[in-house]
């Protein structure tokens, strides 16, 4: 939670007396607190600011979520990987220039849900309804899984719910360091701690407030030492002069600290964003150069690097991973069938594994 800057805590009246709310408020002692009837009051306050996105990251809203579990929507026209998400926290204290939540969350403050009993029941129901096969599910879709964990200890709650549920893989995805709570509980085989990675130069310029590359990799190494499996997400991969060398260094750094056997998966996804993000990001990150690249407008309306370049990036990354015998840990995130086919055709000739479950887990 280093660097977490909360200006004000807002509490939804319906959870005012909840035990976890009290605990969270103790953890945030010293901040002004206001009880409100709904998130709309917080949003209204945030929207008045000239930088509502930046402001939204400094207001914490404690509430109860109406529901938690849903399938990851992927993106129209792309091949999904069968992922499920738990929307436990919403929004993120980190400020990445490429983050689509800036456009998507529309003034939503950092939101923490305290109705864990309901989450527990939803999970039980989920486990009952999907009794066979492997299901991957994570909390990192609309939030960073670990950024607020020192405060919420959501990770510990979830790990205990997933323990002894072998077909259900819980992923906690982050750009933060390793919260101490995760080292106090015994690891579970089906819990994957994963980190989004980018070269340090990219982290420094585009991922404001996050842990540095070294800290993320040391966190992964400590997690492996404790007995967890880990995952890595190269997403978004950015293309710029010198990108190859930079990413090569990241891949080398991974394998200096993490054995291939401990890696559950590595995702690859290149920069993409909805049109609404463009003016917002240009305004908020005038120094960023990532939006000056050549893009196409894809069928689903998002801007992406042209397909020839995306394939090139994925192939180069795959070759880097192949150098460490880890190419079969790779999958693509939000890519078209065409690109999946070309990618697997070249990397794993003859093995057309287009979606989850991944071959090493069958």
């Amino acid at each position: 939670m280093a660097g977490l800057r909360i200006k004000k805590v807002w509490v939804d009246r319906k959870v005012e007396k909840d035990g976890l709310t009290r605990k969270l408020l103790d953890g945030l002692a010293g901040r002004p607190v206001e009880i409100v009837d709904s998130v709309e009051a917080v949003r209204r306050f945030i929207r008045q600011h000239s930088d509502p996105v930046g402001e939204s990251k400094q207001h914490l809203f404690i509430t109860a979520q109406p529901s938690f579990i849903r399938p990851c929507p992927c993106t129209p026209g792309c091949l999904g990987c069968g992922y499920w998400t738990i929307d436990l926290d919403l929004n993120c204290p980190f400020d990445c220039s490429y983050c689509i939540l800036q456009d998507y969350l529309d003034g939503q403050p950092l939101t923490v849900a305290v109705n864990r009993e309901q989450l527990g029941s939803e999970l039980e129901e989920f486990f009952k309804q999907r009794p066979s096969g492997i299901t991957r599910i994570g909390t990192g879709e609309l939030a960073d899984s670990l950024a607020l964990d020192e405060l919420t200890e959501n990770s510990v709650f979830l790990i205990e719910r997933f323990r002894d549920r072998p077909g259900f893989w819980l992923e906690l995805k982050s750009k933060a360091g390793l919260p101490p709570a995760l080292l106090r509980v015994s690891p579970a085989d089906n819990v994957v701690l994963s980190w989004s990675l980018n070269p340090q130069a990219v982290i420094a310029s585009e991922e404001k407030g996050t842990a540095g590359l070294e800290e993320r990799l040391r966190a992964a190494s400590r997690a492996v030492g404790h007995g967890y499996r880990v995952g890595f997400h190269f997403d978004p991969i950015l293309h710029y002069p010198g990108w190859h060398q930079d990413y090569e260094r990241v891949v080398e750094a991974i394998f200096r600290l993490v054995p291939v056997e401990a890696i559950a998966w590595v995702s690859l996804g290149s920069l993409r964003f909805p049109p609404g993000l463009l003016p917002l990001a240009r305004r908020r990150f005038p120094q960023s150069r990532i939006y000056e690249h050549e893009f196409i407008r894809s069928a689903e309306g998002k801007y992406r690097y042209p397909r020839p370049l995306r394939q090139w990036l994925y192939r180069q990354l795959a070759e880097m991973f192949a150098g460490f015998g880890a190419e079969d840990r790779l999958y693509l995130c939000m890519e078209t069938v065409e690109v999946w086919r070309e990618f697997y055709g070249k990397i794993k000739r003859g093995r057309q594994n287009l979606a989850f479950p991944f071959p090493w887990q069958c």
């Binding site: 209204r44 929207r47 008045q48 600011h49 000239s50 930088d51 509502p52 003034g107 293309h239 463009l278 003016p279 240009r282 305004r283 150069r289 000056e292 050549e294 196409i296 407008r297 894809s298 069928a299 042209p306 397909r307 020839p308 370049l309 394939q311 090139w312 192939r315 078209t336 065409e338 070309e342």
Partner: protein, 321 residues
């Protein structure tokens, strides 16, 4: 409000404190006023012993053009404050037609200058104007309102969206003026694309617009456009797109060159996804009768035998920087 007839000469038309609408008088209104005069009263109020127009600017202008001396008016009492009077002008027009972005910016500027609280503008008026109720939108609108008459007129006439104005504001003032001269007479889409492409090119190269405009590929086209040769706009856009999309432009050139070397018969056409997301070639044949079809297939088949097609498919499957 009191109804009465007023003399046009009594109106202080220099005082435009309540004016935020920009539509000019058109021929239809002139014909109407010329035929039956002004029937719908304008709205006025007294300020510093003069009559100030609150609403009805087009009717007054038409009346003057038609040589009328008097027109009907509803007068708002002098002791009513500027903000309350502006609200009358705003809502009187609000029901009639959607405002352009330029008009919205002027209305917001006037509310702001008349000391309506920022909170109320954001929460009440931005949603009425179909703008997001955000502090940054208020800031943007206030900035737009200061762009000057010529800009506001273009923004109004071409119904610009906030995203285009925001990009324009990213240029220094002198460059904005140059851009305006360049795009003033173009369509909204051409205006938006030229601004967007120059913005990108400027960011990529770090050059100022003046230097970019002097570059070989662009100089002739910008020169022609500045001289009013509107037909140069599409070519300028194509040149700008090529500068900003070197990978795809290069591939398109190479693919088109390959297609030319195939020497296809006129009734056979090749097509492919211009975004190059798909890697397939679509072939269409033109045939009015079975013999046409046979002929077309035969000549396609001959081309396939004699010419090199592999390179074309390699280009469609190309991956690289």
């Amino acid at each position: 409000m009191v109804y009465r007839l007023i003399k046009l000469s009594d109106l202080n038309l220099e005082d435009r404190r309540f004016r935020f609408t920009l539509n000019p008088v058109d021929q239809r209104l002139l014909r109407s006023v010329g035929a039956i005069g002004v029937l719908q009263p304008v709205i006025i109020t007294a300020r510093q012993d003069r009559q100030v127009l609150v609403d009805g600017w087009r009717r007054v202008e038409a009346a003057r053009s038609c040589g009328l001396e008097e027109l009907p008016a509803l007068e708002i009492a002098e002791n009513i404050g500027d903000l309350a009077v502006l609200l009358v002008a705003f809502f009187e027009n609000y029901a009639k037609r959607p405002f352009s972005l330029a008009e919205k910016s002027l209305a917001i500027r006037k509310f702001y200058d008349f000391r309506l609280g920022a909170d109320e503008i954001i929460e009440r008026f931005l949603p009425l104007l179909e703008l997001p109720p955000e502090g940054r939108m208020l800031e943007l609108m206030l900035e737009v309102s200061l762009l000057g008459e010529r800009f506001l007129e273009v923004i109004h006439r071409r119904d610009w969206k906030p995203v285009t104005v925001e990009l324009l504001l990213g240029f220094p003032e002198a460059e904005r003026a140059w851009l305006l001269s360049l795009i003033e007479k173009l369509t909204r889409n051409q205006q938006r694309e030229i601004i967007e492409n120059f913005y990108l090119l400027k960011r990529k190269t770090g050059k100022c617009l003046e230097d970019l405009a002097r570059e070989e590929k662009l100089a002739g086209l910008t020169g022609r456009l500045l001289k009013g040769e509107i037909s140069a706009a599409d070519r300028l856009l194509a040149a700008l797109r090529e500068e900003n999309s070197p990978l795809l432009s290069g591939l398109h050139r190479a693919i088109e060159a390959e297609v030319r070397t195939l020497g296809l018969p006129p009734k056979v056409r090749l097509d492919y996804d211009r975004a190059l997301e798909e890697t397939i070639l679509r072939i269409s044949l033109e045939a009015g009768e079975v013999t046409d079809l046979k002929e077309a297939l035969q000549s396609l088949s001959e081309t396939l035998e004699k010419k090199e097609w592999r390179r074309l498919f390699q280009l469609l499957h190309y991956e690289g920087e």
